[in-house]
Point group: C2
Chain length 579, copies 2
């Protein structure tokens, strides 16, 4: 009879335990969980704070008693593993309820301890109202403060947990300040995609403090004052720290297991550590990034669950392998959805990997059917063979769907030419005859085939001074807002005014733009076929441009009149055929 | 200068025209459309009838004038092509507004005439209130009758258009009867998936008449009486015929172009007909089925648009190819969504192709986050290598997303083992850490690896008389409903009662079931590992079973208490780990 000890009873650990039991009815399976709860819905915690999930019990998906009766699992809560004797294959355990110590023998040991919220060494951070959110007790502590009358909160960190907590606290009518070290929310997104999220959070009453950090915490009559690097001081009834997580590697280090370069447990494709009797899975391990091949720490529930399953298979003698993690993630931010899969531009630049990119702004479903809005889609792909490297999307309806299609495409090794051909489900409430993913494929493939040349918003400041910048939108759109130095030649007038463009081309480059990039693509085709070589169209148009330059360019200039312009672009897009 | 004539100005035709112009600024591009409208939103017509799309103008996505000014396209409406001189490369045209005849020369001719609604030769079908819905004038005629006081309607045909029209007419408060020849709605779905759709339509006030057909239409004081094969007669203020479409092949036949075995225009991978100067695309052509390789008529907007694009590329000297159509489709039916991609079981059986299948009922997103419901997912795959052959899903939230992921998987040639590993976007509002697509992969891969043996609902009537049928749900669930002849051994009691099961196994096969198939899978693993060989678990559980046998088994028996049972199964599913 095989004896298996699992340290940690949430995602990876419980997934491993359940799979082990299914594969081996005879094994003795012991799950040791430090906390009072196992297999709880950690991703649901912010939503119970906000009241979206009213029933606290629903977060406790199961109990040790139920696990025993259906799965014959020996699940023990409030048990801390304080050491492992790898030679004797013994786990040293402390029962946190009474301090009793005991040993548990194993044939295979599984570490699934997860990751812990970072608490940086900032003066005053030990203030009792500076909280984190990782477990049910953490959640209870935050709710207790709100129920006790807290009316304001400072969220430190603008990634997943931070934005989810900010939304939850707003739902409870607290005044919320959000502080983020980077100059954007959701730092895993490339910055231009984060701009609409920042605006949206501000519209929902979250005061944004980007590009700054907390340098000290002080008590002010029981409340917390947070000093910022920017010099400002914020005061609130509570602070939620959400500045990231770190693998819980103390035990593994003490045991002498090999760590990876990023500080997580090093594992092979079977999720086996440097000790062949010891496996690890979930947020505590280092994985291989699907796209870059680099070691990575990626704390996600889906990979954790699959890793638990795979190591269970391997313990039971199967040749299961976990290949890589691509970092597919999604987050709800008030009415918006944002997510990514594969590599970001920032990552590809950091690693010096060749890539190219396109931006587009398709609507979630047919524009004439109510309830849709434009999403911003950024696709990163290999300039040689067109292999999809990454995608990021922010928007409203249908964002998660396109993320999943693109995640599947990356996993399958598809190219942008394959995206052109995908046959996706279309009816007006769900999509368009040319789905956003198809459109991304069309634009990217056009680029690789040389049918279009693109310029990018970040190049605006470095444009050749001899450049003629042409806005091909309608005169009304141009009047409402245009890029500094742009002149207006509406698309319908373009053919008649080719003389002007030829004269400009004799002086220098021609750079075109419209609202989202479609009309200027049509303009590009006309200009290019008139023999003008140095012409390019702005990828993603003014909408993407404003994602880059919102802060620096909106000094006094009105925002884009989005509704008018979108209707106009929709008419232009109709040219590609409808149904 | 190339002269290109396109016959038909909606999806395929207009997509071709727009792409041609982008690739060839100099070409003369003439689009001849018989109707008064081009490039209109044909898929939106039912939604304007129902009032969901209030603005009729929004269906006319563009106009000939706009197409001329932006794309320099010569788009002519109300022009009928009455003949083609293939030797002289001349199209004979009649201007329907004044009867004038003229010829239009071409270097390349594109046929994109679409398909026409079938009007079977049933006596009385020419009644002026027996309408079809394919064009804007068709829509206007239906709306005129409703605005004129029509209070009841009979929809004949229960596929896409039929169910969409039925929903639209209910939204206008008409009494609606739906008549369908097959014994199910949505005949492209396998029948067991259609059962919940039928029930849902009935709950929304559509009177269902399945397995029957109209045999005659009579005028009754201006209204229409429909005699049914069943002997019943229905009377209503209008009838909408939606019994399918047929390629508009009259012109192609008169020209002597080759047709395919299904009656559509035969084309090569460049969408070129048997005459190399003549292309065809959209609903009028025969395509190759992605999964079966068989010729097929598949009228879908997405493929039509892509075919138009591909033939435009080929006309311009590029080597673009259209490989196949997999039939990905989705439909909204009141609050439900249903769809499919790839081959159905019916098709695979008809062709004698080997396949196996699994059913599951995952929820659209995390069960503890509000607004989700179980979907029914059927996955068809190759028994040898696990290649995904087809999928069908009916449910509420997240159906279209999983269809698109599975459609992408089929296009990429993925297997069920790949589905296990897909890394899809998870947050509680969007999915589960183990997404429904992952779950489908787990169940299917378990089957192929021999970790589970399944039995299927359709085998119920043929079970070996010595079979012991065991319901492993709770006693409460068993008491509320159970399969005839089933005995109750709740999962938590199973290990203690193995003696009973061993005794039963000595007599004959053991067949297990629960609500959705998860608890009985756990039970299977226990029983099988106790050395019992002839044991199998019901794929999809009682929920799938009721999809098969609803009609024959619900004589007096209450429906399943779905809420209670789902909560219980959710607890069981928690065993596979959460996050």
């Amino acid at each position: 009879m095989k004896r298996i000890v699992i340290v940690g009873g949430v995602a990876a650990g419980m997934s491993a335990a359940a799979r082990l039991r299914r594969l081996d009815e005879q094994a003795q399976i012991v799950v040791l969980e430090r906390d009072r709860y196992v297999s709880y819905a950690s991703c649901g915690l912010p939503y119970h704070i906000g009241g979206v999930i009213p029933d606290r019990e629903s977060l406790q998906v199961t109990t040790p008693a139920y696990l025993r009766e259906t799965m014959n699992l020996d699940v023990r809560t409030e048990q801390e593993v304080v050491g492992v004797d790898r030679d004797a294959k013994l786990v040293h355990v402390v029962d946190l309820r009474d301090g009793a110590r005991y040993d548990e023998p194993y044939d295979a040991l599984v570490l699934a301890q997860g990751a812990a919220p970072l608490r940086p060494p900032v003066p005053g951070i030990e203030h009792p109202r500076v909280l984190t959110l990782r477990s049910i007790p953490d959640m209870d502590a935050i709710i207790a403060l709100i129920d006790g009358g807290a009316q304001s909160a400072i969220v430190i960190g603008g990634s997943y947990i931070g934005v989810e907590v900010a939304e939850a606290l707003r739902a409870r009518n607290l005044a919320v300040d959000l502080v983020e070290l980077q100059d954007q929310v959701m730092p895993l997104l490339d910055p231009e995609l984060a701009t609409p999220l920042r605006d949206h959070m501000q519209q929902h009453g979250v005061e944004m403090h980007l590009g700054t950090a907390a340098t000290a915490f002080h008590d002010v009559g029981g409340r917390v004052a947070v000093e910022l690097k920017s010099g400002a001081t914020l005061t609130a009834d509570l602070v939620v720290l959400a500045v990231g997580v770190r693998p819980i590697a103390t035990l593994a280090k003490a045991m002498g297991l090999a760590l990876g370069p990023r500080g997580g447990i090093a594992v092979d494709t079977h999720m086996r550590s440097s000790d062949p009797a010891i496996y690890a899975a979930g947020d505590m391990v280092e994985v291989t990034d699907t796209v870059t091949g680099e070691p990575a720490l990626i704390a996600l529930a889906g990979p954790a669950n699959r890793q638990g399953r795979i190591l269970a298979d391997h313990i039971c003698g199967r040749d299961a392998a976990y290949t890589s993690t691509q970092g597919t993630a999604v987050v709800k931010i008030f009415d918006m959805t944002a997510g990514m899969t594969g590599a970001s531009e920032r990552t590809l630049r950091r690693l010096g990997r060749p890539f190219t990119k396109v931006y587009l702004h398709p609507s979630g479903h047919a524009g004439y059917y109510p309830g849709t809005a434009a999403m911003q889609l950024k696709l990163l792909f290999a300039p040689d063979d067109g292999k999809v490297l990454g995608a990021q999307i922010v928007g409203y309806d249908g964002v998660d769907k396109r993320l999943d299609v693109l995640a599947t495409a990356i996993r399958a090794g598809l190219t942008v030419y394959d995206l052109e051909q995908l046959e996706l489900a279309y009816a007006p409430p769900y999509g368009s005859a040319k789905d956003p993913v198809n459109m991304a494929g069309f634009v990217a493939a056009n680029l690789l085939r040389g049918d279009v040349a693109l310029w990018y918003a970040e190049d605006y400041a470095q444009l050749d001074p001899q450049t003629t910048l042409i806005d091909v939108r309608s005169p009304e759109e141009y009047a409402a807002w245009h890029m500094p130095n742009a002149q207006s030649i509406p698309l319908p007038e373009l053919r008649a005014r080719m003389g002007e463009i030829e004269a400009a081309a004799a002086r220098g480059p021609i750079r075109l733009y419209c609202m989202v990039g479609f009309r200027s693509y049509l303009a590009y085709r006309i200009v290019r076929q008139h023999g003008i070589v140095d012409v390019a169209t702005l990828s993603g148009g003014a909408k993407t441009f404003l994602g880059f330059y919102h802060t620096s360019l909106d000094n006094g200039q009105p925002d884009l009149p989005v509704v008018v312009a979108t209707a106009s672009d929709r008419a232009a897009e109709a040219l590609v055929g409808t149904a």
